[in-house]
Symmetry: C2
Subunit: 348 residues, 2 copies
DNA sequence: GGTCTTTTCGAAAACGTTTTCGATAAAAAT
DNA sequence: ATTTTTATCGAAAACGTTTTCGAAAAGACC
C-alpha cells in the first residue's frame, strides 16, 4: 500500500540507496549490471520518485503558476492551451488561478503561488489592478515573472503582448480603405492599457487620413458578461445620435456581435450602410451573419511565447546567468469578412 | 536572498526549531509570549513555510489534478472555473492537463499526476479512451478519482454527470409538443456514452409519442473544430434527403448553429418550417439569430460538485473512514428560445 | 522542604531524495 | 611485486518541516 521508495529497492537488492539513485539516473559510476537490475526492479515495483523529496533537494518544483482574470473566455482559454502545451514539452505542470478581475484576489493568489514555490509565474492583470507591489515582490524574490496581454508597463519583467495601437490603427485604416468617412468607436473601460492603446490607434488612423476626430463618436462599454447587450444598446444609441455614421471600430468581438444583432433587427444593412470591425477574432465571429471582420489576437501563440520566455528565464537563473527581460510583441492580423466592404485601394 | 526557514527564526530568537514550528501553528504547549515573538519575527522576515518539506512530512500536497479533453470550449472552461472556485475555498490548487481527446496522452498525464503526488484527480475521458487500466491504477493506488461528463460506467469511482438520456428525451418531447411530426437527429460519434444516451433519449421520446423511429433521419457528425461546417453540410443534406422534416434535435450547439446558418442561407424559416433544439447551452446560442433552444448543461455546477466529492473522499481516506462512491446526477434544463415554436399543450 | 502537577521547551527521528567524497577492489602499468 | 589507475560502491550530510516524547522549570499543595 505504501509507495515504494529507493530504500525498498536497495533493501531487496542488498545495495545502498545511493547506488539505486545513481543507477536510475544513469550515473557513470555504477556498473551496467547493477543498473539493469535496479531499473528492472524499479519497473516491476512501479517505483515513482517522491516529488516532494526531489523538490526539497533540488529546490525546484517543475511547476509554474498562471493567473488570469477569467477562464471562460475564448482568448484566455486559448492562452491557457498555449502555455500548457509548451509546458508539457519541457516537463512542467501548470497551476491555474482565476483572479476574477479582482486586485485583492490577485494579491492573494500571487502569495499562494509563492508559498507553493512554483518555479515561475505568468499573469494577465485584473482590470482593477493599479498597484504593483505584489508583482515587484515576486521579482525581488528573484522568481521569474511574465506578464501578457494586460500588463503593467512599469514593472520590470518580460512581457508578451500585441501591438494594440497598431492593430487598432490597421482596423480603422481598413474601414477608411473600404470607403467609410465617418467612423465611430466603441471602446472598453478606461483602465486597461489595451483599451487606451486601441483608442489611440483608432484616433491616429483618422488623423493620418485627414478625417477629423470627433469625441462624440466614441462610446464606452464595459467588457463583461453583458457585453452583448451593451453592444446592442450602444448601437441603437449611436444610430439615434448620428445617422451619418458609416463604420464602427469596436473594442471587442462580443460587443460587435451585439451591435450586429441590433442592426440586423433594425434592418440596417451591414456592410452597405454601416461597416463593422471587431477585435479578438473570437470563434463566434466566424459564425454569425454577417461574419465579422476582426483583429485576430493570437492567444495560443501568446501562451506559447509566454512559457518559452519563462522557461528561458528559469534556465538563466539556474545557471547564474544574467537575466534578460524581453518585450515580445506578437503580430496581429486583420481577418476580413462580410461585415466590411472590399477595399477600394490597395494600401500597405 | 535565500528564503527564510524555521531555523533562521529559531536562531535569531535563541530558541529551538521545534518551538518556532509549534508557535506558528498555535500549539498549546508554547507560552503566549514566545508565540507573539515568533509570529512577529516571522511576519517581518516574511517567512513562508517550504511547501516541499511540509508535503514530504504530511504526505499531502493540497494539490489536485484535472484532465480534460479540450480547454478551449465553453462547457469545459466552465467546469474548470467551477472546480477552481471550489478548490480555492478549501485551500487546494489545481493542475490542469489537456488530453486532446487522445487516450495515449491521457495515460501519460495520469502518470504525471501520480508522480506529482496530487491528492486526487478529476477527469473527463478522451473520446477514444476504451481501455480503463490507467484509471483502475489510480484507484488501486488508493488515490481519489472523480469522473465527470465523459465517464466510464464500469470504473468504480464517483461520477458527476447529467442525465443525457432524460435531457434528450425532454428536448425531443419539446419538439413534439410544439407540433413537430417528423423529427431528425444529428448525433455525435459512436463512442462516447453521452452520444449514445442522447440518441436513446431521442428515440424513446419518439416511440412514447407514437412517432415511428426512422434511422434514415439520424445523421452522424463528428464534434470538433469543424462542427460548424459539419452542421451546415448535414443540414443541407437533410433537406435534400427528406423535405418533410419539421424538427431536428442536435447533439451539440455548434452543429446546431451550423444548421441554423445553412437554413438561414437557404431561406428556410426557423422555427416555422423547421424547429431546432441544440445541446449544451453554449454562450453563442443566445446570440445568434434566431436564438437557439437548447439543453443547458451546468458546467460550473458540475465542476463544483466534482471537487466537493473529491474533497470528501480525500477527507475520508485521511481519517481512515470507508470511502463511499457516489453518482451525482445534475439537473439539466431546457432553455426555450426562438428556434422552436411555443408549446401547444402543457405537458409535464 | 518535599511531593505532585502544570507549564514550557527542545532533542531527535522521520519523510525520500540527491550529491559529495572517500573507500575498496580490480585492472593496468611499472 | 609494487605502484598507479580505473571501476564500482556506500556513508553521510543536507533539504525544511512535523511530531513524539522526555526533561526542566515553575507553581500548587500538604
Amino acid at each position: 500500500m505504501k509507495p515504494v521508495t529507493l530504500s525498498d529497492i536497495a533493501e531487496r537488492l542488498n545495495i545502498s540507496i545511493t547506488t539505486v539513485s545513481k543507477a536510475l539516473k544513469d550515473y557513470p559510476d555504477v556498473s551496467p549490471k547493477t543498473k539493469a537490475l535496479v531499473k528492472e526492479l524499479a519497473l516491476t515495483l512501479n517505483y515513482r520518485p517522491n516529488s516532494f523529496a526531489v523538490n526539497l533537494r533540488t529546490k525546484e518544483s517543475k511547476t509554474i503558476g498562471l493567473i488570469i482574470p477569467v477562464i471562460v473566455h475564448h482568448f484566455f482559454s486559448s492562452v491557457i492551451k498555449g502555455i500548457i502545451s509548451q509546458a508539457e514539452k519541457k516537463g512542467y505542470l501548470v497551476i491555474i488561478l482565476q483572479s476574477n478581475e479582482s486586485y485583492e484576489l490577485e494579491k492573494k493568489q500571487i502569495d499562494l503561488l509563492i508559498n507553493q514555490r512554483v518555479d515561475g509565474i505568468i499573469i494577465s492583470l485584473a482590470n482593477d489592478t493599479v498597484d504593483f507591489k505584489h508583482l515587484n515582490d515576486v521579482i525581488s524574490l528573484d522568481k521569474p515573472l511574465i506578464m501578457f496581454d494586460k500588463i503593467a508597463k512599469l514593472v520590470k519583467c518580460s512581457k508578451v503582448i500585441i501591438n494594440d495601437r497598431q492593430a487598432a490603427y490597421d482596423a480603422t485604416q481598413h474601414l477608411i480603405n473600404t470607403g467609410c468617412k465617418r467612423i465611430a468607436h466603441f471602446r472598453g473601460s478606461l483602465l486597461p492599457q489595451n483599451s487606451i492603446d486601441r483608442f489611440l490607434g483608432y484616433k491616429k488612423a483618422l488623423v493620418d487620413n485627414g478625417i477629423p476626430y470627433d469625441p462624440n463618436l466614441v462610446y464606452i462599454c464595459e467588457c463583461d458578461d453583458k457585453s452583448f447587450e451593451e453592444g446592442k444598446k450602444n448601437a441603437i444609441k449611436l444610430l439615434e445620435d448620428h445617422d451619418d455614421v458609416d463604420g464602427i471600430f469596436i473594442n471587442t468581438d462580443l460587443v460587435a456581435i451585439g451591435a450586429i444583432a441590433a442592426f440586423n433587427d433594425l434592418g440596417v444593412k451591414i456592410p452597405e450602410t454601416i461597416s463593422i470591425v471587431g477585435f479578438s477574432n473570437w470563434f463566434m465571429s466566424s459564425v454569425i451573419s454577417p461574419t465579422l471582420t476582426t483583429v485576430d489576437q493570437p492567444g495560443f501563440e501568446m501562451g506559447k511565447e509566454a512559457f518559452k520566455q519563462l522557461f528561458k528565464e528559469i534556465r538563466q537563473r539556474k545557471n547564474n546567468l544574467p537575466v534578460t527581460y524581453e518585450e515580445i510583441v506578437l503580430k496581429t492580423s486583420l481577418v476580413k469578412r462580410e461585415s466590411t466592404k472590399t477595399e477600394l485601394t490597395n494600401r500597405v
